[in-house]
Amino acid sequence: MDDVIVVQTADFEMQTLYQQLRQANTTDGAIVTFTGLVRDFNQESQVSGLYLEHYPAMTQKALQKIVNEARQRWELGRVCVLHRVGQLAPGEQIVFVGVTSSHRKNAFAACEFIMDYLKTRAPFWKKEITNQGQSWVSAKQQDKAAADKWDQ
């Protein structure tokens, strides 16, 4: 299976990941990619940075499980999931999901599914650094609802 799953502190080059999905691939007619960025605000205050903690022994395994589930639901070609950990500044790239498929509908759906599941099932925790100090980000009900809708 053509899965690339990476957890790293370093930034990534989207063009390189895109090329990995595209090169020598004549069977897939669609590539859908998503890139998540660090925002500089939350409900209460200005965010000057973010610290991303994870559970190293589990992270890769959890992401692979999500990708496996996507593959059970849709016919997919290549899948790439890259998530960064550690210290991040506003505007930085934090996550990348890329999916190829013979037709666009599967690629769109799988990309969204992987992000929705990643947000509720992969062991990452964000701590925001604001002018008020540091605080752990709490899980959002809307993220849970987005993941739950795939099971309806």
Partner: protein, 80 residues
Amino acid sequence: MNVLFFGQLRELLQTDSLQINVAVSTVFELRRELQDKGPLWRDSLERSLTLVAVNQTMANEDTLLEKNDEVAFFPPVTGG
């Protein structure tokens, strides 16, 4: 059995891991054992506030445990 804590839970308990040598057969029993350590542990490990993984796979209260399992408790995840 090795028990790990992550995120805010790790900070609240000021503990990132501990060894449990008491025989517990489910996540439910392990949670009760840990909550007996005091009010801070009881409140922080409230079932509705935490997720649990056994051997790096999401688990629930009924998940069976064995002596050498790695169990992790953590708050709802916030990646992405």
